[in-house]
Structures are given as structure tokens and as C-alpha cells.
Symmetry: C2
Subunit: 351 residues, 2 copies
């Protein structure tokens, strides 16, 4: 039974203008997406980097507290550049990002032609966002849209919350999960009287590999009752896992699509990012009922295999259309992809 029915490259950096003429857009990826009005709303991460080049230097961008984009020019000899996403400063071992991201809204103007119109930009605001804001996920809860996103700064990568009714103006609610915490997704309704989130509360440490945890909240702002939920078991998810799309309620439970990353193909490199799927118990989502042993999506299309970080599919949204699901995902940290899945085949893959 065919699992992935089709995919296409929905948008790429060539479709967007930079925030100002001093920057190039190098990626638009890892989009949150939900049904909105007659169509859908999508918020994508837009990565920019300074156009200017100085021989022997690398320009490391950041937002100053006034909202101004600043470039710290750093001698190449002081940096280790084995990972394209980050550089490590040899002197103190600390890393900086080579690009800086903000978020942009797109509204689907024609569902059949899958056409999207650009909406407002959401920019880094606080001291916790100086290295950018990334990887939004959107969940509709009680009639409002709630957006979790990663806030990166010298204090680490934390997860912050924003909300909107109209995708035109946004309210910011501050940091809800402190560093290092990424891949936070909200369930669409309260379960047993509490809001529920999946999160990934730890970077890779000596003690443990990243795992997906579950937390509960009375108000979406304060979180507790933390429990470990899912760790990588198979080779393709052995190095890293994180929640992908906000869970979708289906008859059988909560459908959870996540990403997993395996060992790098060569030392010092980045492993392939694939998409996995699991089914959580409807009444107690801290319990995994079924789980696909194989990825439901591997990087196979050219736009998934080639780009800023090669061989990445990074699912961040899922829309239920009955017989099919549409997954929106980041492809190679460069473009937004949209893939259709057969509902029957997807559930058949959960062992």
C-alpha cells in the first residue's frame, strides 16, 4: 500500500524578498499550517544571511534590542565550520548561527491551485530572540490560533508562545519552555481538564539523547506534570527525535507525526532527517498505543536531498482531509514541501 501519494515543493527562497537589501533569503522552511477561513494559513521560518562578504571573515547576524539587524564579523580562523547551520568559536567553544530567521505568514488564496499570498512578517523582539525565531507550529484551541516557536539567543534555544485570531496581529506570551527546548506542539483540546503539549526538553548530553516528553497546563502559559514519552529506538531515529506536527484527533487516538535523525553518513556530518508516526492513547496521551517502525517519509525527492542541509524532511504540520492527510514540512532546511499521505496506508504502517 503506497504511503506517500505525492509531494511538491510549495515555496523556496527564490519566492521571497529579504527584509532589507543587506540580506539574502537562503531558506523558507519548517512551516506551521492550519485550516483558516475557506483555505489554510501557513507560517514559515525565513532564514536570511548578510549579502556582504569580507575575505577571511564570516558574518554572524543577530538582532539588536532595538530590532536592528547587526552582523558580527568574525575571523574565519577562529571558527570551526563543519556544520553548515552553525559555527563554533574555537576560543570559547560556543556556537553561533550562520543565518538569522524570522517568521512569515502565507494565506491560501486558491485551494485547488494551492496558491498562497504573503501576509505579515513576525520579527524577533526580545533579548531571548536575538539569534532569531524558528520552526513555528500552529494549533487551533478554543477558537484561537496558538503558535509555539523557537527563540534562539546567547541564553540557548527556548520555546515561546504567540497567539492570533486573524493571522494579521499577534500577541506574544513569552517563554513557555526554557532552554534547551525545541519541537513543542500543542494538542487541539484539553484532555482530562488540562491542556497538553509535547516537547523535547534536552539537548544531547552525556546522560541522555533527546526525547519527546509530555507536559500539562491549566492555561497554556504554565507547564508541569512532565513525563517522558518517546525516545529513538530504530537506527533512523537513534540520534535525535522531536515532535513534528501538532497531534490530530482520530477515532483510534492521537496521530503524532515526528522527526527522527540517525547517525551521520560521515564523521562530523549531519544524519538524515526522516518523519515517523505514532498513535497515542486518546484518554492518556502519555501512552503510545502503536508506532511505525519504519519512517513514513524519507528524503527522496531532489528538493529534499539537496539544499542548505542535505537529506532533511522535517514535518511541522498535518491537515486531515479524510482519505488523505497533507503534511507540510521543511525540505533540506531550504524549502517548504507539501506531501499527501493515504490515511489507510498510514494507519496500516503503525505496528
Amino acid at each position: 500500500m503506497t504511503l506517500r501519494l505525492s509531494q511538491h515543493r510549495l515555496m523556496g527562497p527564490e519566492d521571497l524578498r529579504p527584509l532589507n537589501s543587506q540580506h539574502d533569503v537562503i531558506g523558507v522552511f519548517n512551516p506551521g499550517a492550519v485550516r483558516f477561513n475557506e483555505g489554510a494559513a501557513l507560517i514559515a521560518r525565513v532564514a536570511e544571511r548578510p549579502c556582504a562578504q569580507r575575505p577571511g571573515f564570516v558574518g554572524l547576524p543577530r538582532y539588536a534590542s532595538g530590532g536592528e539587524l547587526i552582523v558580527d564579523w568574525t575571523p574565519e580562523a577562529e571558527l570551526d565550520r563543519s556544520d553548515p547551520r552553525v559555527v563554533r568559536q574555537r576560543l570559547d567553544g560556543r556556537t553561533r548561527l550562520t543565518s538569522v530567521s524570522h517568521l512569515r505568514v502565507f494565506l491560501q488564496s486558491d485551494e485547488v491551485a494551492d496558491r498562497w499570498e504573503a501576509g505579515p512578517a513576525i520579527l524577533p523582539l526580545s533579548i531571548n530572540e536575538e539569534y532569531g525565531i524558528e520552526d513555528p507550529r500552529i494549533t487551533q484551541i478554543d477558537g484561537r490560533y496558538w503558535i509555539t516557536y523557537v527563540a534562539v539567543s546567547r541564553h540557548g534555544a527556548a520555546t515561546a508562545l504567540a497567539s492570533t485570531d486573524d493571522f494579521a496581529s499577534f500577541e506574544r506570551h513569552g517563554v513557555i519552555f526554557p532552554p534547551e527546548n525545541k519541537d513543542v506542539v500543542l494538542f487541539p483540546r484539553k484532555i482530562d481538564g488540562k491542556y497538553v503539549a509535547l516537547h523535547r526538553p534536552t539537548a544531547k548530553t552525556d546522560f541522555c539523547r533527546p526525547e519527546v516528553w509530555l507536559a500539562r497546563s491549566p492555561d497554556l502559559l504554565h507547564w508541569g506534570d512532565h513525563e517522558p514519552l518517546l525516545a529513538g529506538v530504530a537506527d533512523w531515529e537513534s540520534e535525535r527525535v522531536g515532535a513534528g506536527a501538532p497531534p490530530i484527533e482520530v477515532d483510534e487516538g492521537w496521530l503524532m507525526v515526528y522527526h527522527g535523525c540517525g547517525a551521520p553518513r560521515r564523521p562530523g556530518g549531519v544524519g538524515d532527517y526522516c518523519a515517523g508516526a505514532a498513535l497515542l492513547d486518546l484518554a492518556d496521551p502519555a501512552r503510545i498505543v502503536r508506532r511505525a517502525s519504519e519512517p513514513i517519509m524519507r528524503p527522496v525527492a531532489e528538493f529534499e536531498r539537496c539544499g542548505f542541509v542535505p537529506n532533511v524532511v522535517f514535518p511541522t504540520a498535518l491537515i486531515d482531509s479524510g482519505e488523505t492527510f497533507t503534511a507540510y514540512y521543511g525540505a533540506a532546511d531550504t524549502a517548504v514541501g507539501a506531501a499527501k499521505f493515504s490515511r489507510a496506508a498510514l494507519f496500516a504502517s503503525l505496528n
Copy 2:
């Protein structure tokens, strides 16, 4: 002006019996302490290790889910033993503790003679506590005693919450700060309508060094509004900082005593742990008003310099006695120390 007026070694491993005859007590340290009835209550971390030895193997202890203590015998050749507290498994790079800790209550039976009587033990219970429970801090809030402690497991080091009225029976409230989070202390009252905690939400990563953050809660169980508060600036706190004693309300603000760790004396070793002090704004404790540039306590006494981890003073409780403060602290990860500080000199040290 003399800051530290006196200190003594309050208790050590020789004062305690192990939980069972298969184990040795190797440390009693990092104690929470509060005024209780006519005297004080203290809860210390007790570290044990298997007595048995097998040539060529290291016994790594853990609690099974039924509460039974189990030893995993691991070939020495598979382990890296440069840090006495942990071993690293060469195969997968993951670490295990060489000892396993539980908590024990002591009640002060004679304040003048500073005599303490042993109370109940608090044992690891959940899957998040299989490698032990550590480093309790106690705060009296609204008439009840709240205990934050570190829960260590294959999922990392998280912080859990317990509470008691009588130091005889304890209620467990689960994980309130997910891994990697240690050094959580609670303020003794609500500020601006919310409970407040200090925490240390990240292990040392490429992006950042450990920092103390502040969080707020409506109910002590769910936490949000996370803000970075204090990072190490001086050499003696450059590698690591974490809150020490629960903050004490004084006229000038909130007195915060914390620990800092500098660079190791030799590569691969552990740096000295010292105590620092800061004053936080009474109405907005996310604002540091004054801060001591030098440690208020360095490891100088023999019992602070020699032990399982040499050169460690690790403050975990502070009792206000008017002209003096008594700090309770872990000494060399081996013993409990009690030190008296001059109030006038302590405040004079805050620049």
C-alpha cells in the same frame, strides 16, 4: 570585616547506616534546611555505593521499578573514569553515576548543642528516579514545607517536587522542571500574585553555559514566564552557576546565595565550587540589584578541600538569625557543613 565567622562539619558518612548491608554510605551532603517547631529540620542527600567488588568491573547502582537496589557490573575497560562522580560508557558515550542517592530527614533535638536526630528516609520511587534523588531544598510556603529535589534517570536529571507538614510523611508531586534542570529553589511567598522559582534549565551546551533562570507559577506545579537571571561572569563562576539556598526576604530585597564553579585546575578535572551572593529586587526578583564580585565562601577547611570531589562548598540552605546567617552546605560531596556569616559583612560584600 570578617564574612564567614565559623564553620563546622555537622555530619559525615560515618554517622549514618546504609539502607541495607550490601551498600556503603560514601557521602551525606547538599542538605535542605528550615526552621521547624522549636529547632530546625534538615533533609540531606545520602550517597551509597555497593560494598561488593569484582576485579576488572565497576558496579553501577540503580533502583528497579519495585524499589529494589540493583547493581549493573560493567567491565572497567568500557568506562572512562576521569570524574569521580560519573563514568562514561566508551561504547555509546553515555554516563552513569558511580553512586546512588536517597534523602534522609534529621530533626534538631538540641539547638544549643546543634544535635540532630535521624528521621525517615525518602527513597526513589518513579522511573524518573532510577539513578537516585539528590540535592533537596526546602521552603516554607503558606504554612507547608515544599521540597524540590533532583530526580536522575536514563531520561536525564530533572527536578521534582514533594511536600510535608511534619517531616514524617511526604506527598510527591512529580516532575516540575524537565531535564536538564537542577538547582531549583522556591521563594517563600507569592510575588505579584505568582509563586516564583529559580532554576538552572540547561546543561553546558555549545550554545551556552549554565545560567540561573527565574520562573513563575499559579500553583507551584505548573511553571512559565521563564526569564534568564544570572550567568557566571567572574573566573570563579565561569563554568557553572546554580541557585543555592531558597531566597530569604530581607529589608533590602531577596538575598540569593548560589554556587559557582570555575575552570578545572587540570584538564579533565572538576573546578572549585564556591558560594556567591546577590540581592534581587523585592518587587521584581528578575532584577539583580547588587552582587558580590568575590565568593562569600571558598573551600578552605580540610573537610571542604578533601573528599569524594575535592574543593567543593555547595550551599543549599540559609537560616536567618538576625545578626548572623547560618548556611548549610555540602562539603567535598562528602559531608554536611554549617557556617555562620556576619549579616553586616555579607551585605557589605554586595557591590
